[in-house]
């Protein structure tokens, strides 16, 4: 599970994608962040397989993320935008979470 960042700018980014109003619910975006950070063990919701595949691609192989396919299947640009940025924030912050935690340990 991704720990909300201690750095104020990172925390503000995390808070924005997980709490601001959008076409998707804040709860869905929180699950997107968690799945991108922690892996496919975190489900986004029932009947969300195509969004989950998109989140996994953004996290692991973003050039393979099928944004055009989501649009063709009826998702709006706002949904694709919100899910893409939430997944990128979850995966991106998770990449350095362990190193930042180790650095905090060294500083103490």
């Amino acid at each position: 599970m991704l720990i909300p960042p201690a750095n104020p700018q990172a925390r503000a980014l995390y808070d924005a994608v997980t709490t601001k109003p959008g076409e998707t619910s804040a709860e869905l975006r929180r699950r997107v962040v968690e799945r991108a950070a922690s892996g496919p063990g975190v489900t986004i919701g029932p009947a969300m397989a195509e969004l989950e595949a998109f989140v996994d691609a953004v996290a692991l192989d973003p050039r393979a993320a099928d944004a055009a396919g989501l649009l063709e299947r009826g998702h709006s640009e706002d949904v694709v935008f919100e899910v893409a940025v939430a997944a990128a924030v979850g995966a991106g912050l998770a990449r350095v979470e362990g190193a930042l935690e180790a650095l905090r340990g060294l500083k103490q």
Binding site: Q9, A10, A12, L13, A68, F81, V96, A99
Partner: protein
Amino acid sequence: MRLRGVARGHGVAHRLKLGVVRVVSGGPPSDVVRLLLYRSELFGAPLRRYIHAALRGPSEWTAGERELFATFVSQCNRCAFCTAAHRAVAERALGDRVVRAALDDWRSAPVSGPVRTALGLLERLCRAPEAVGEAELRQAIAGGVSPEGLENVLHIAAVFNVINRVADALGFDVPPPAVFAHEAETLLRLGYDYGPL
């Protein structure tokens, strides 16, 4: 960019902001600007402030060195857009030869010891982030980087791991190098937090 509405300008506020950027910069906004100004309260504004703090905030690293780190992370993630954009700024600050050498082989590049140490850490973080722990950080400190300098490097890695993914997932168009070279001086001088936009 795959989100055509975002690329064209979506709603009055977004189109107005894109118009301001067009006038100020003297050219069409790049895809990253279009995206960061779109519903910016949700992503673009806090991301710009994070990037600005990491690349232009108080630090033992120069702006040029931090642009090199941003380019290095982007290259490691194979993000063509962010690599080209930040390479232009790094080259403006450090010169083409140094940046090319660092991106080709950081071990032999003509950079300071601490910069080489930071590039090595960023490479390990890119290839196996879970393997970067206290031992690697102690090694970096022994290589001349302070804990605060390391923290700065880690936040550069974080923020570029975010924007690299957005750029590639949404298919940002990569403009010719001359476009990024034109923007480089402004980005070097003013940074990334463009206030009320």
